[in-house]
Amino acid sequence: MEIASNAQPSGGRNLHRFANPGQFLRLSGRILPFLAVSALVLTGIGVFGGLFMAPADYQQGDAVRIIYIHVPSAWLASSAYMGLAIASLFSLVWRHPLADLAAVEIGPVGAAATALCLATGSLWGKPMWGAWWVWDARLTSVLVLFFLYLGHIGLIRAFDDPQRGYRAGAILALVGVVNLPIIKFSVEWWNSLHQPASITLTGAPTIAGSMLWPLAFCALGFTLGFAAIVTARLRAAVMERRIRALLLARAQEA
């Protein structure tokens, strides 16, 4: 039970546990400005290229330009979940304190990316498919991903003992991984309105080069931006734990 951890909540021991996160603070403090600046620059170039330099689609017209937001946010939504699952694995197996905090902090950012993906997809769907929303395999599986994020956000914060929240959230995140292949292959397994992937690891992309390069800039910019936001949140969370440990130690001395 929790008796052991309640009996000796010494500030020194808590600080010792965060010796490694201290190193993280120093390192991330140096990397964070570069991450943030390069994310802004790359996204800026990508959005400018997408809006003003790339040609309009011969069928979809200017509506195709939403791809420069929609596709990067969709990539981010599923890769952020993968990141969440990996952090959860570290948290569950090695009880790594930074992985615990990373799982807490990735959740809301990933959920925001998923919401952005759903919102831009809906805006794109109205002119192309004639409906804001269709109950399609791809859309439904991304909606389930969004609910999984929300459930994880709620669960990991719902325990009085944060350690319990980390464990429960990690198990949920790992269970939810089954949804990722379903999202990936939903356009191939079912007849879907959603188009299949244009860019694959194997084989040439089926998207014109003039449209591909702004997309690549946006995708890279979004990914770096995600890394920057999560790093900043993680730094804030580590510092918050430190302050709490220091206050606890001072309260015990007094």
């Binding site: 039970m1 319990r164 429960a168």
Partner: protein, 220 residues
Amino acid sequence: MSFIGLIGRELRLSARHGADTLAALLFFVLAASLFPFAVGPAPETLARIASGVIWVCALLAALLPLDRLFGGDFEDGSLDQLLLSGMPPAMLALAKAVAHWLVTGLPLLLAAAPVAVMLRLPMENIPILIAGLLPGSMVLSLLGTLGAAIVLGARRGGVLLPLLVLPLAAPVLIFGVGAADAAMTGLTPRPHLLLLAAMLAGALPLAPIAAGAALRAASE
């Protein structure tokens, strides 16, 4: 305590709280009978939505008793005793899931046929609906046990539980209703039923392992 012994204990406990056990069944029948009031009693409308209504109501009804699945044992310390007894936590979770299915899933399965008749589902489609509900309700019991183990000890756990279980249960619902609808339109329900069986085959070993890990975390 052995696996069978634990299931027996759960069954005795729910027999002694008969009202709690019946509440889920009553909810199922009541919720399903609201739909004719809401969409009108036209037979063709009701027949079209009957299988979907039954699936959704069964899914929601199966969630009701999950709150207390581990709750009582967690509060009075029986859970710690059970975990100390040497039984693997996954086995303990599986026994709870089996007990949940026997106490909630099986009665829902039996009540589904009369409710389907009331909702004007054609007679020849009722066996397909039941054939889908049989593996479907088992998967729901396994997922529900997993959810109940994860939220154990959380604040507002009862509110959180449906938020966690419902997204995971969505595929079961899709293929369960898909089987019934395929039969309605004259197609074979076989692929849907096979996919449901595949989900059961996947959930049967994996859900208890995850639930067992959550139980061990809860009693740390």
